[in-house]
């Protein structure tokens, strides 16, 4: 079977894309893959931007700020028992945002990051609750808040980069 030069050229671009995918098995969304997909004429499927997901990410950030401020207060306001509901609120925010993100296909990146963020919150909760009525030290609280904020800031930026369509 003879292929026209145009078809051969497209075929070679698709082969190049496949090769790049093969040598980057760990990357699901890097620029190199997007560029190769564009070159090969492959439509890169990206979920649309969701105002609900965006609002959810901002809620997580706000409620985590509130939680950290409460944990930084003096005893007994800093105790885990007093702040359990605030931990639960952040966990609920994360679950709700994940559910909103899951309504869109190909939203794996956001969902995966939210899953891992939820795990981080639960480990932080375990550390704080282990202290009983003692206030958790501010160094640890600030480090956790900074790390948490960094993820949320990036997740918000990632969501804002998606095409609007919802």
């Amino acid at each position: 079977m003879q292929l026209s030069s145009g078809r051969r050229s497209q075929l070679s671009r698709i082969v190049r894309f496949a090769a790049i995918v093969a040598i980057h098995p760990m990357l699901s969304g890097c620029g190199l893959l997007h560029a190769a997909a564009d070159e090969a004429g492959i439509v890169w499927v990206q979920p649309p931007q969701s105002p609900v997901v965006l609002a959810g990410l901002k809620n997580i950030q706000t409620d985590n700020d509130t939680l950290t401020t409460a944990l930084e207060s003096s005893s007994p306001q800093c105790a885990y028992a007093t702040n359990k509901a605030a931990f639960d609120k952040v966990a609920t925010d994360i679950s709700a945002t994940k559910a909103a993100a899951a309504k869109f296909r190909y939203n794996d990146r956001t969902i995966a990051a939210l899953n891992t963020l939820g795990s981080s919150l639960e480990h932080h909760r375990a550390a704080v609750s282990d202290g009983g009525n003692n206030c958790f030290p501010k160094n640890g609280l600030e480090a956790q808040k900074k790390a948490f904020d960094n993820v949320l800031t990036q997740a918000i930026a990632f969501e804002q980069k998606k095409r609007s369509g919802n």
């Binding site: 891992t116 981080s120 030290p137």
Partner: protein
Amino acid sequence: MPAIDVNSVADDILNALKGSIGDLGPDELAIVRQQASDIATGFEAVAQDKLAGQITDVQAENEVKALADTGSAQLQIQLGLVELAAKSAVKTGLGALATAAATAVGLGWAGPVIQNVINGL
């Protein structure tokens, strides 16, 4: 007085992460460098609390787990790494951190704690 040299440890973690993730462009490298720095800085805060006797080994372990998770989440959202790859990268970074902690004064507790975190990832 800092428990660890954050910049030096961040360099060790960066090299470990680079080895785990593979080829990186300048933008991706900057992201990974930031992650290495965040892990080192976060651990330094945990180490200060532990050295001051304000938290137990178990609390320190949970805080390092929380930091490892946020580090993984960053690699997932910013680089698009899948969960296993992100955790694998963070594991290698934590390995470098454990090695650095092993030679630091007052951080004898940190090696087993970090190893527990690595084993649990």
